[in-house]
Structures are given as C-alpha cells and as structure tokens.
C-alpha cells in the first residue's frame, strides 16, 4: 500500500510502486480527466502537478509521487486556473478536448511561475503539449488573456 496526497486528500492505493502515476489515477482512483497520449513524456496529455510543478504522470512512478502533493485537472484550484478556464471559454479554445487537461495543467503551472508570460515563455512552457486539433493559436491567446491582471 502506498499513501498519496491527491487533490488535497490523503489516499492509499494498492498499486505496485513502479506503476506510472497516470495508471494509478486512471485505474485505481478513477480520476480519468488525466489522459494517456504517448506513454513516453512526448505529448503532455498526462500532465499533473507535483508540488505545483508540471510533470508527465505517464513516466512518473508511484514511488516518486509518494509524499508529494499531486494535483490533477479534477482538483486544481486557484486564481490562475479560474482565469485560464474563463479565457479558454471566452476564446473557445477546445476542439476534441482530449489534450486540454494537460494543456491547462501546463498553462496553470506557467502562470504560477510567470504571471505575465511572453510569447517565448509560452513557447517554452507549452511546447511539450501536443494538440492534433490545432488549438495552439487560441491557447496562446487564452494564456495572454488569463494573464491580464
């Protein structure tokens, strides 16, 4: 049994310590807002926060997550995510939506660190998140809009 802090709650899970966090979230914990895209940290669909930092849960073993605060799309809170969700809605960013949990978690971590990001900051923070629907121009615009104080 491994103890985890997920979305502010202490939970214990049965999964073996080597299990990637993604599959613990999606399987045992049924938190399916976090998505599987590539399994190799190439696409960002599985992005969650570990102590506020964006990580790829598909390559993060449960043993590494243990003892840290894990936040998923279902539990993320604060002025940054509120502003991002508002901007995402106003600009109509989403299309299929499959990658958007990961996009939002990456964008949220960016705004927490850099409240007024430049285009170059957005490139760096968001380049690891693939979207096959091509929502990138709207994601960029929405991050800028959410960053307006």
């Amino acid at each position: 049994m491994t103890a985890l802090n997920i979305n502010g709650k202490r939970t214990t899970v049965e999964a073996e310590p080597e299990t990637p966090l993604l599959w613990v979230l999606r399987g045992e914990l049924r938190l399916v807002g976090t998505k599987y895209g590539c399994g190799k940290a190439l696409c960002g669909a599985c992005t969650v926060h570990l102590d506020g930092q964006p990580i790829r849960s598909c390559v993060t073993p449960l043993s590494v997550a243990q003892g840290h605060d894990i936040t998923t799309i279902e539990g993320v809170q604060g002025p940054e995510i509120d502003a991002l969700r508002r901007a995402w809605t106003e600009i109509d960013v989403v299309q299929c939506g499959y990658c958007q949990s990961g996009q939002l978690m990456s964008a949220c971590a960016l705004l927490k660190k850099t409240p007024q990001p430049s285009d170059a900051d957005i490139d760096s923070a968001m380049n690891g998140n693939i979207c096959r629907c091509g929502t990138y121009p709207r994601i960029r615009a929405a991050i800028h809009r959410a960053a307006v104080p």
Binding site: V94, C96, N127, I130
Partner: protein, 756 residues
C-alpha cells in the same frame, strides 16, 4: 467555361436504371421527421418527432446521430434545433440516436459522387436523387465524415425544431382555449398576448398527444437568434474540468483492462504465442489471441492479428503484454517497403497512361502546338492519423448481448461489425458513443472495435477496456496512401495555358472501376477552366493498409495541382495570383476568395523580415473541397538549420451560410495546422512490411513553437451551408511550398517539404 467532362457515363446508367422504377423514383425521398419506430422515452418525457424530446423538467433532448470529435458539431446542430424551436440553448441535452434511416448522413455519400460542381445536368441530378433515395431506405448510414453534418441536417433539424415549436404552441392554445395564432414561443416558453405563459416542460405531455404538423415554414434568416452567430461551444465546461467522457473514460463497474501487441508486419497474424511468463504476473486474468480485421468500406488492407492480455488494472495489462512471446506469421506485406512502392508507382507511370476519368478538348493537339511544355512529378508519403486518443473500445458481452462504449465516427457500421464479430444480431448491441479524442477519418474504421469485442467475449461477462499503446496505434493505422502524380502543361507563345495533363498512381482504396474518379477529387474539380485536359489515375494496389485521412484525396491533389499551377505561372513569368485569375473565368466565387486572400495578405507588397532578420516570402494555395472554397497565403522564411518556418497564414473561406463563425474559424485553423504537420514533418515509412515510426518523436506534429499565427476571413453568403471540418487542410502544403519557391527558387515536389 470549358468543363472537364466525365469520359464514361456509368454513374448516369445507375441513375437511368433506377429511373425505370418509375412510380417509386418519381416520389421525393423519404421524409426525415418521423422514425419508423417510436423513440425510447424516460418517465416524464415526450417525443415530439424523431429528433426532439421535451421533458416535464423542461429539458429539451436533441437526438444526436453525429459524433463530436472536436469539429463542434454538437454545438452547431443544437443551434439549428434550438433556433427554430425557440428553445434556450442551455436547456438542450443530447442523446445518442439509433440507426433509423432518418439519421442517415447521405450528404457525405451523395456529395462524393464524382461530378463537377458546375455540372447541373440531368444525369447528375438523376443520379444524386436516386442514390440519395435508395440509401434513405438503409438503416445505419449515420456516419460523421466528409465535412457534411451541418450540410446534411441543416433542413432536417430546422424542420424538427419548427414542428416541435408548433406542437408546443398548439398545446398551449388548447390549454388556454385561445387561437394558436395569438401565441408565440421564446426562450423555452410559449407566450400568449394576454401575458400568460408556460414552459416547454409544462406543455410537453399535452403536445405529444397532438398531430405533428409536417409542412412547416422555416425562419427567414433575418430572424435567426443563434444561427449565424459566434455561439460558444456547449462542450467547453466539461472539457475544462476533466469530466468530459471520451471513449477511454468508460468506467462500468468491475471493469477489466486489455493491452495488445499486434504483428508488426502490416496485416500479419499470430502463428503461436507463449503466455506463461505473462500469466505469472499479478493482476493478469487471461491472455488471448485475435485475428486480423479488414478495413471495411473506408479503405483497404487489414489490421494485424495479435495477442491481448486481460488484467485487473491498465498497468497490469501493459506490463504483462511485454512478457508475451509471439511467433508471427508475417504475411504478404513482409517483402514490402514504402520506398519500393513509391518507385513502383513512378515506374508504372513510365508506361501506363492511367485511366482518364475526366477529359476536355484535344490534349494531344494542344501539347503539340504549345510553344513550350512543362513536366513535373510530385509525390506524397503515407501518413498516420495520430489522434490524441489512441484507438480503444470498452465492451461487455453478457447473456448474448453486448454493450459497447466506442468513440466512433460510424455508429451504424460499429454496431453491425461488432454484432457480426460476436455472432449476434445488431439489435443486441447497445452502443454508447462518448466524445472522440480526435477522428480525422481513423475512427470511421471498426477494426479496433471488432478486436475489442472478440477479446471481451472471453472475459466471462465482465466489461473489458481494450486500449492500444501509442506505438500500436502509430504502427497499425489505415494510412493516407503513397501517391505519385505526373503533370504536364502546355503554354502558348503568349504564356497562356493551353494544355493540362495529370496522371496519378496509387491504390484503388477499394473503389471499383469508375468510382475511382473519386481518387481525383481536388484534381478534376478545381474550378480552373483548362481548355484541353486529361485527368487520369493508374491503379496499382499494394498490401499496405490505406484509408481515408482528413480531406481524403484532396490532401494530395491540392498539393499537386496548386504547386504545379505555381510552376506553370513561373514558367509563364506571371504572378501566381494573376495567373490563377486568368483560369477562373467561369467561377466568380473562387475568384472572389482568391482576390480577397491576396488583398488581406498584402500580396505583392514588401514583407518585413523575420525577427532574426531572415527574408520572408509569400505563397498561395487555392482549393475547392466539400462545397467550400478556401485560399491560404503563407508567409515563410528559412531558419539557420535550413528549416522551413511559417510565420503567418491568411485564410479566406466561402463555406456557404456561416452557421457559427466561431466554430468555422476553429476548424479552418485546426485543419490548416493538421495539414501543416503533414507538410513539414509527416511521413510514415515501411520497411519489410513494418512501420518505422512509433511515437511522437519520429512522427512529429507541429507544436506550439512552430505554429504560425492564423487570420481567417469568412465570406458572407446566404447559400446552403457547406463543409468546414476538412477544408483548411489541403491548401497549406502548396501555399508553403510555393512560398519556399518564391524565397529560394527551389521547387519542392514531395512531402514532407525538405530543402536541399
């Protein structure tokens, strides 16, 4: 204008034979308001017609046949219903439709018959009428594809909304004993001049007792409240908080998970396997094998057979599948490489004239008398769809019936294919279509659904979620095929185009004989008035699986045609935009889009250099597809590593009446970026029958840093709405290639675009 004529008239013959069934054919096609059987009803709910139910809790349920894969169709179709019904969009809920023929999407089929858009002749009209009428009788043709959903349901849903509104008004008039003419509907309520009002929910049960009016007047566009406005998507909230349910998110109780390994050689199968090591691992229930599954109607070839591990958790399945040893029967593709296929196609074109599907004038004479001729060979590689959500399906097979959670573009085919795989009747398959994490044509195929059903049948009644890894998904697709195309143009001494010839070579995609003309969409229906022309295709099959990919043959034919037009313009020493306008003499719509794009992009004016000082140039691509016309002007520079950089793209689109400009812009942007990934990076190669790319490191889509700014202009139009979901994809590759030529003088004739 001279119009490319179909050389053979077999399609017309189909129409003519059909026309012999005189009495039946003279009648209009079957109505779409009332299904052949009653809709399922929840307590407190009333069905007002085949598309809309109203509940006493005041929700309006739209019966939805179309799959939401990002294109915004749920929002657009809900707008059509709500506007005519005078419902509030927030009270509209969606419910998966069944396979009744009223939901058949016939626009996708009828519009893909190979006729010229300019053709208004009797053969075309009779054929379209007969094909549409015949297919209206067959249940389950309810696919989402061909950029056709709004086009197809534009009238059906508006009539459904209008007739429901009239029923609710009649119910209110009955209740209040007033003339219906004194009542009106607004925002989900019926109002009377006296000030009385009732919600749709209060009137629903009474309305359902009344006779449905079938001859209803639709709104004049000036009275639209939602249609034509940039209404926000109805799926935003769920897709921003993790609650939106995709195929992969099905969570029935006691769910088991399956992971698969398929024969790496395309179409191969399992000879034998050893599961002993896998079965020793914790959480593993069963290890089973499955056979290859064919492409069905959307392509050719089959998905490989393989082995599945059924386990208690996703990770237990993933971990165990690696421990299964399999001996493969590689099959006929084992000797095939993509390089050989491309070389074979080019070689075939040395001796094969191809089958001429469209011809006009006297090409031979025109080429002979031309002052000069220009020849070029173009190529495109295989492409994977690479949806963000890998292929998956959840199936529960219990007591002779199946429940299927399937992110599919083709619900009718899905139900039928799974029923067949399980040996049960289609009525025994309950299908739930969640959101699709991308489709792009891949989810028109049912291979992964049949595979999941065959595996779940062995799970003793438990539901099984079968998920392909990204690697399995990338290496077991129905790929956009390799096509080689040869082009020849003749110019007279004044630089006017007098001859145009193109001959493509590639697989038939399963299309018989004359229907192979569909492989030339985007080549024969360009809108250019070629005075003497021959448009041909040579079929050369290969064992490589191939299928429909966003914008289908437009994706390659736009690259060929729009690049070669640019080559010819350069040979004639003419401006690319001006040269195109001389060929568009009969098509004011295309001319308008082209000139608008030129104007908005500042065509012909100097361009500021890139931030690093590199010179920029513009290139243009113009294309007509799915009833819409789109032009794109790309601003391009070359980076230090000789990489092609696209800074900005101006898009102009005429898609008929713009139902939701916001969704349309999204689709144009998205389609363009999808096409740009293919233009700059996309290439699937095959060696010894095995796909060599496995994940996003070697099949690289455009990412944020590389993505251009996109500005989209939508032409005002009152015409019937046309396709939007795929039209942004075809023109971007030639627009970028043409810009590269303007910048460097290098003509890039194969994708992905790579500078020498």
């Amino acid at each position: 204008m001279p119009n490319l004529k179909r050389r053979h008239l077999v399609l017309g013959t189909i129409g003519a034979v059909g026309a012999l069934v005189v009495g039946w054919s003279a009648l209009p096609a079957r109505q779409r308001l009332i299904p052949s059987g009653p809709l399922p009803i929840a307590p407190g709910q009333a069905a007002l017609n085949g598309w809309v139910k109203v509940s006493v809790d005041n929700t309006v349920t739209l019966v939805m046949s179309q799959s939401e894969m990002g294109q915004g169709v749920h929002t657009a179709l809900a707008m059509l219903l709500a506007d005519e019904m005078e419902a509030d969009l927030v009270q509209v809920r969606l419910e998966q439709s069944g396979d009744d023929p009223i939901y058949n999407n016939l626009t996708a089929v009828v519009d893909s018959l190979p006729f010229q858009p300019e053709d208004h002749g009797v053969v075309k009209r009779a054929t379209r009428h007969m094909v549409g009428k015949l297919l209206r009788e067959i249940p389950g043709l309810n696919g989402t594809g061909g950029s056709s959903s709004v086009n197809d349901q534009w009238l059906a849903l508006r009539k459904a909304g209008a007739s429901a509104r009239l029923l609710l008004i009649a119910a209110a008039a009955d209740t209040w004993s007033v003339p219906a003419a004194e009542c009106s509907a607004e925002a989900g309520r019926v109002l009377h001049a006296s000030g009385r009002s009732a919600s749709f929910g209060e009137l629903a049960l009474r309305a359902a007792q009344l006779t449905l009016p079938t001859d209803v007047a639709l709104k004049d566009p000036s009275r639209f409240k939602l249609i034509g406005r940039p209404v926000r998507r109805i799926d935003n909230a769920a897709k921003l908080n993790g609650t939106a349910t995709f195929g992969i998110d099905a969570l029935p109780p006691d769910l088991l998970y399956a992971s698969v390994t398929m024969c790496p050689t395309l179409g191969g199968k399992v000879a034998r396997f050893d599961a002993a090591a896998a079965l020793k691992l914790s959480g593993v229930r069963k290890v089973v094998s499955f056979d290859p599954v064919g492409a069905g109607l959307a392509g050719v070839g089959s998905t490989s057979g393989g082995v599945a591990v059924i386990a208690d958790t996703p990770y237990h399945a993933i971990r165990a599948i690696e421990k299964v040893t399999v001996e493969w029967d590689h099959g006929p593709a084992a000797a095939v490489s993509s390089r050989d296929v491309a070389a074979g196609l080019a070689q075939a074109l040395d001796s094969q004239p191809g089958k001429a599907h469209f011809e006009t004038g006297d090409l031979a004479a025109a080429l002979k008398s031309a002052a000069r001729t220009i020849d070029a060979e173009y190529r495109v590689p295989m492409l994977a769809h690479a949806t963000m959500e890998p292929m998956n399906c959840t199936v529960q097979f219990k007591d002779g019936a199946a429940t299927l959670w399937a992110a599919t573009q083709a619900p009718g085919s899905a139900r039928a294919a799974v029923a067949k795989a399980l040996g049960i009747k289609a009525e025994k398959v309950t299908l739930i279509v969640p959101y699709l994490g991308g489709g792009f044509g891949r989810r028109y195929f049912t291979d992964f659904l049949e595979q999941a059903a065959v595996v779940a049948r062995l799970a003793d009644g438990a539901p099984v979620q079968l998920l392909w890894s990204r690697e399995q998904d990338m290496t077991h697709d129905f790929y956009r095929p390799i096509v080689v195309s040869r082009h020849r143009a003749g110019l007279d001494s004044q630089g006017r185009l007098v001859a145009w010839q193109s001959t493509g070579a590639g697989p038939s995609m399963g299309l018989p004989g004359l229907l192979q003309a569909a492989l030339l969409i985007g080549a024969y229906d360009t809108g250019y008035a070629f005075p003497n022309a021959r448009i041909a295709y040579h079929v050369s099959e290969s064992p490589l699986p191939a299928g429909i990919w966003r914008s289908v043959a437009h994706s390659q034919n736009a690259f060929f045609t729009e690049s070669f037009i640019d080559e010819v313009a350069a040979a004639a020493a003419q401006d690319p935009v001006a040269f195109r306008t001389t060929l568009l003499t009969g098509d004011p719509r295309m001319t308008h889009v082209l000139l608008r794009a030129a104007e908005l992009s500042g065509w012909g004016q100097p361009l500021a250099p890139a931030p690093d000082g590199a010179r920029k140039a513009r290139g243009i691509g113009l294309h007509r597809a799915f009833g819409s016309v789109v032009a794109q002007v790309a601003e391009v520079s070359i980076g230090e590593a000789r990489q092609i950089r696209v800074h900005r793209v101006i898009c102009v689109l005429d898609c008929g009446f713009p139902v939701n400009p916001n969704l349309i812009r999204q689709q144009v942007e998205g389609g363009l970026i999808y096409g740009l990934s293919a233009a700059l990076h996309g290439e699937i190669t095959v060696d010894k029958g095995q796909v060599q790319q496995t994940n996003f490191h070697d099949y690289a889509p455009v990412r944020m840093r590389e993505c251009p700014a996109i500005q989209t202009d939508i032409i005002a139009s009152s015409e019937h709405p046309q396709g939007v979901g795929e039209v942004g994809t075809p023109p971007i590759a030639p627009a970028v290639a043409n810009a590269v030529f303007a910048l460097t003088g290098q003509r890039l004739r194969s994708l992905p675009l790579t500078l020498a």
